[in-house]
Subunit: 277 residues, 2 copies
């Protein structure tokens, strides 16, 4: 896989053609199980939490990056996401799980951020089944905290992209809350091989036998939001420590010539079109 | 098609099961051309613009809805989106086209909104080919201005959802800027039948013969962002006038039992699974 370098992203930001250094790679299935899937609730042993209490916020400009960040406890964040799902669903619950804590620890710009306005991310954006709200929400958080690539640090963009990969390559859901509403034994894990709500949910519904309206399906999606919030904060903490691996794992524009997920054959079958370069 | 009523959305917001009033409908192709596709640059004859100059913004709470809105000129908005695309790409360009004008006319919360943080929406979220950034950006704008359904007005959610339908059922791009970078005769129109970047872009690349890295492809996507910005503002202006038709046009959870786009057979072929209810 290729690396999307800082320079390339800055060039991209200037909307300049990336040139012709194109590598024609196959578009195979990449079903490797994600070894980080063991990220279950495990306390906060490796997290140093910042001081509690909001700071003066007048000086914070939300259009300048990075936003002030203090390390969070992934498990606590996941618990919040799990509970918030039942209030504002997948996308907004991931945003809320991080921003609500930073509103308390840091203050602005988190305190004023309109988290509930992202309710519409549910069901792959207003139930259209496109990107899972947990992936969209995680991308929003990572990019708003670290900043867009145009700000000079592309770690937020990379964290977001790699969380899309994690989402598709992991048996979900992983995180188990302290007080689950449904017996975890009833919630089967499935791997979506896609960041799309429709495919992810469809595979789970088929494997579990539970309909969309069931309490079990809601438990699955709320625990999925919690799992993504856990991974998101783990990555943001690493970034804060200067330890986040900046390699981007999937660069479809370079590898297959079109924005895409990784498993072309899932929809195209054996006749995957070749994108003109 | 069914109507997602205010009551249903409020019930949904409470995460209560929608009950068993389920109608089993077919999942056919809905390729009707959108008759609103003639929305080209045509001036602002039907738009009454508000006063210019920011107002005092201290009293605005971005977590309360609706946000202050003044009617905008759709064609001017589309021109801004077209140009902003070449700076921050599809999703952020749609947000910028509306919020930059409202920052001038209204002030906060638009002035402080971190538009560039949504750069990552490009290419269907970090190039993964999921939801087109123009649809995501339009949903963000509609839901942040009007508010989420939980705020009591579901017009923002409905505008967003119906713009996803408009996106897929329209020969795109529609809007022609005053000074196009590429001769419009070179930019063919295609209908995606999907809100997904990968499918939308793939169909256009196939029909046009231009690769993703070409100036023509960029022109197509920037004009698509402009088209969506035009429609978005047209709808927001109608909402401001109390004239927006609140019927939601596609309610997949009710109609097919799973979050989905409308054309099941495109991926599933003749064996479309039936979702358990």
């Amino acid at each position: 896989m290729s690396e999307l370098s800082r320079r390339e992203l800055i060039v991209k930001a200037g909307a300049v053609a990336l040139g012709a250094a194109v590598v024609q790679l196959g578009c195979g299935l990449r079903h490797k199980p994600n070894t980080e899937a063991g990220a279950v609730a495990s306390g906060a042993a490796d997290v140093q939490l910042g001081n509690v209490g909001p700071k003066a916020s007048a000086a914070v400009d939300p259009k300048k990056w990075p936003w002030p960040y203090e390390k969070l406890d992934p498990a606590k964040t996941a618990e919040i996401a799990y509970n918030e799902w039942y209030r504002v669903y997948c996308g907004a619950s991931v945003i809320s799980s991080v921003f609500s804590q930073l509103a308390e620890k840091v203050g602005e710009p988190y305190k004023s951020f309109p988290v509930d306005g992202f309710f519409f991310l549910l069901g792959g954006i207003a139930d259209w089944g496109t990107v899972c709200g947990t992936g969209a929400g995680a991308n929003i958080v990572a990019n708003l905290i670290v900043g867009p690539p145009t700000s000079g640090d592309h770690a937020g963009f990379t964290i977001g992209s790699n969380l899309m990969e994690y989402y598709g390559n992991t048996m979900m859901p992983v995180f188990v809350p302290k007080n689950p509403k449904i017996d975890p034994a009833k919630i089967v894990q499935t791997q979506s091989d896609s960041p799309l709500c429709h495919i992810s949910l469809g595979k789970w519904m088929k494997a579990s036998g539970f309909p969309k309206a069931s309490a079990e399906r809601k438990e699955r999606c709320s625990r999925l939001a919690a799992t993504m919030a856990y991974q998101l904060v783990k990555n943001l903490n690493a970034w804060k420590d200067g330890k986040y691996d900046e390699n981007i794992k999937w660069d479809p524009a370079e590898e297959v010539g079109i924005n895409a997920q990784q498993n072309c054959t899932d929809c195209h079958g054996s006749s995957v079109p070749t994108a003109k370069r």
